[in-house]
């Protein structure tokens, strides 16, 4: 209301004029009862009221006009500017001075009140601003919040340039009301805040902007430091991963390569070559080393496939018994010293999965079962359907796995702390990746008997209907 009345001065003068005319008319009605001196008090009330809502000059105009109206229309002689009575003259002059003083004082109180209000608004918006800066999750959100807040408070266009662009204004050069403030902390300059205001800068707005800029600069510094810290942590992590990879892979590669080298050197010795028992055991070592290399390369390829995130499931219908059989066949060399039992709850459903990936997942789990358990022990593969899922449990007769390790077991390069068996710590991580890709999962638990039990679970897909077939025996009939 106040702002609007201050907005147009013509309107304010009009209002003063109309108010005074109205007061004069009202006073004319009751001047007979209250007397023409009391009329002055009514005018004074009106002037005070106007001074509360109008700017200074329209209010002063109202004060002057009220004096004139009282003089002309109420102080005898009526309808004449002249004042004959000395007492009346003194009253009129006093009235004029009091009216002016009251107007000026009321205005001053109003102005002070407005300033206090503005200051409070600025303080609260500063407070809100710093809160939004603190809670902004990243630099983009931070800049967005700052822009929105400044634009809201100042009703101006805001641009923030990062980093500081050598004093170049993003707004039309020499446009009125453009202000650039560097976003600087004692150590660094992070950019420049440009504000373009269509109307004039008001009292305190510049200092508000400077405080905002300082806050913003501190927030930007915080973001920059956070980014550096994050980068540092990532770098550290990748370095650690790289070291682990290099350690375990180079160890896993070198061990079979060393075996191959030794066997080949040995086989070049005529007396070893002629000793058939030695020769056979050396050749068996060679086979084992090459299988181990093949397994390692397969794991590394699978891991890079998973990491690239670009591998596609090549789903097709397959018989889970085929998967189990091909894993056992692929591992027949490693499993020859173990007793393997396959228990299937017939009938097993067909699976709609990527054969190769599920096979590799099961391969890794069974391979672990034989590398981590003593030869001669029993490995059981239990296949069945549980809760709408196809489940394979791989159970061994080892010492089980401490519950604290269950989760970490599936992490890349993780190896049980007391493990002496060869490996890279990739197998279970790959198995998990492949199962997850199918919407399945792999979990571990310990058996009551003490061994570990890995459970691979896959969601079932309903098998489409087969065409109806005649059940008769065709072999007795002639060819069709």
């Amino acid at each position: 209301m106040i702002g609007r009345l201050q907005g147009s001065s013509g309107w304010s003068y009009g209002l003063s004029f109309v108010a005074m005319v109205a007061l004069t008319l009202v006073n004319a009605l009751w001047v007979a009862w209250i007397g023409y001196w009391s009329v002055a008090l009514v005018f004074l009330l009106g002037v005070m009221a106007l001074a509360c809502v109008l700017p200074l000059y329209p209010a002063l105009f109202a004060a002057a006009m009220s004096t004139l109206c009282w003089n002309i229309f109420f102080i005898p002689p009526v309808f004449d500017v002249q004042i004959l009575d000395v007492q009346d003259l003194l009253m009129c002059c006093t009235y004029f001075i009091v009216a002016l003083l009251i107007t000026a004082l009321t205005r001053r109180i109003r102005a002070q009140e407005e300033r206090v209000l503005q200051r409070e608004q600025r303080l609260s918006s500063l407070y809100q601003f710093s809160q939004r800066l603190v809670t902004a999750p990243d630099q983009e959100a931070l800049l967005h919040a700052a822009k929105a807040e400044i634009a809201r408070v100042l009703a101006a266009e805001v641009q923030i340039l990062l980093p500081a662009c050598e004093g170049e204004s993003p707004f039309e050069s020499h446009a009125m009301g453009v202000l650039g403030i560097p976003l600087a902390t004692p150590e660094n300059v992070y950019g420049c805040l440009w504000v373009c205001k269509r109307d004039a800068w008001q009292h305190g707005q510049r200092s508000f902007l400077e405080i905002v800029a300082r806050h913003l600069a501190l927030a930007l510094e915080r973001e920059a430091l956070r980014a550096v810290a994050h980068q540092h942590a990532l770098h550290h992590l990748s370095e650690r991963l790289y070291d682990t990879l290099l350690d375990s892979v180079s160890h896993e590669l070198r061990t079979p390569l060393t075996t191959i080298q030794c066997v080949l050197d040995n086989l070049q010795q005529p007396h070893i070559l002629e000793h058939s028992q030695w020769r056979h055991s050396l050749l068996a070592d060679l086979t084992h080393a090459s299988l181990r290399l093949d397994h390692l390369v397969a794991n590394l390829l699978d891991m890079s496939r998973l990491q690239s995130g670009r591998f596609q499931l090549n789903r097709d219908w397959c018989d889970p018994r085929d998967i189990v059989q091909s894993v056992l066949k692929a591992l027949q060399y490693e499993l020859k010293d173990y007793e393997v039992q396959v228990k299937t709850a017939a009938p097993l459903p067909l699976l709609y999965v990527d054969y190769g990936l599920v096979e590799q997942a099961l391969f890794n789990v069974v391979h672990n079962a034989c590398t981590h358990n003593a030869p001669g022990t029993c490995i059981v593969l239990n296949c069945g359907v549980e809760a709408e899922r196809f489940v394979i449990r791989v159970e061994d007769q080892g010492h089980g796995i401490p519950e604290a390790q269950w989760e970490a077991l599936f992490e890349k390069f993780y190896r049980l702390p007391d493990s002496h068996a060869p490996g890279t710590g990739l197998g279970l991580s790959i198995a998990q990746g492949f199962m997850l890709a199918h919407g399945g999962e792999i979990t571990v638990c310990n058996l009551k008997s003490g061994g570990a039990c890995f459970t691979l679970a896959l969601p079932l897909t309903p098998v489409p209907q087969l065409p109806v077939e005649e059940v008769d025996d065709v072999t007795a009939h002639s060819r069709g």
Partner: protein
């Protein structure tokens, strides 16, 4: 006269190893290190069998195979590595007789070569009686015996079996079986095969969970041995 084998692979060590192993078994061996020289060698020596690597520079194994198949039905065994499943199946559907996945054992290689050569010389269509272990098949009367006891098969079961019987010892792809038995419209219905193969195993195998006659070639097809 000894049989001639053409070995096509870009890895010299593998060519040398295969060549030594095959020569030791009495074959005459020619080697080619890429697709172009393979074709030249094929036209020059007219081999009885080709071992063809799928991943080669200049001209891929698949292209070489397609060129050869335009003029000749010579048995071709393709050599592939893991993660080349698609090329492998393409090669089989383009007319390759069998495949081996690197790394492979020499024993396995020799077995595959024997099967391919035998199937080629004595076209199985003309052989009525086939005996595999304790199984006996009579293609003329469409009868099957297990341990000399006749096994009753349904029409579709027999058609699936007949498909495998035409290529005893060699791999038959899902696509080949589906198009031969159900037609071109059923090429994606691999679950048909799974079901009938499972039924056949129950009737013919001693232990259906651990088959020794009707073998699965993961993601590729089946093999009757």
């Amino acid at each position: 006269m000894s049989q001639r084998i053409l070995v096509v692979d870009d890895e010299a060590a593998l060519r040398r190893n295969l060549s030594i192993s095959l020569q030791a078994s009495g074959f005459e061996v020619f080697c080619a290190k890429d697709g172009l020289s393979a074709l030249a060698c094929f036209h020059q020596h007219d081999p009885d069998l080709i071992l063809l690597d799928l991943g080669m520079p200049k001209r891929s194994g698949l292209e070489v195979l397609q060129d050869i198949r335009q003029t000749s039905q010579v048995p071709v065994i393709v050599l592939s590595v893991r993660n080349q499943e698609r090329q492998k199946i393409e090669a089989l559907d383009a007319g390759a007789n069998d495949y081996l996945t690197k790394p492979f054992g020499v024993g396995e290689l020799h077995a595959r070569i024997r099967v391919a050569l035998r199937n080629h010389v004595a076209s199985p269509d003309r052989m009525h009686m086939i005996t595999l272990g304790h199984l006996r098949f009579d293609k003329a009367s469409r009868q099957v015996w297990k341990n000399d006891v006749r096994v009753k098969l349904t029409k579709t079961e027999y058609r699936v079996l007949a498909c495998l019987l035409n290529h005893v010892g060699a791999v038959v792809t899902h696509k080949q079986m589906l198009s031969e038995i159900w037609g071109e419209a059923y090429l994606n219905e691999t679950h048909y095969l799974q079901v009938y193969i499972s039924q056949l195993r129950h009737k013919l195998e001693d232990d259906p969970a651990c088959p020794v006659r009707i073998l699965t070639e993961p993601g590729v097809g089946y093999r009757l041995t």
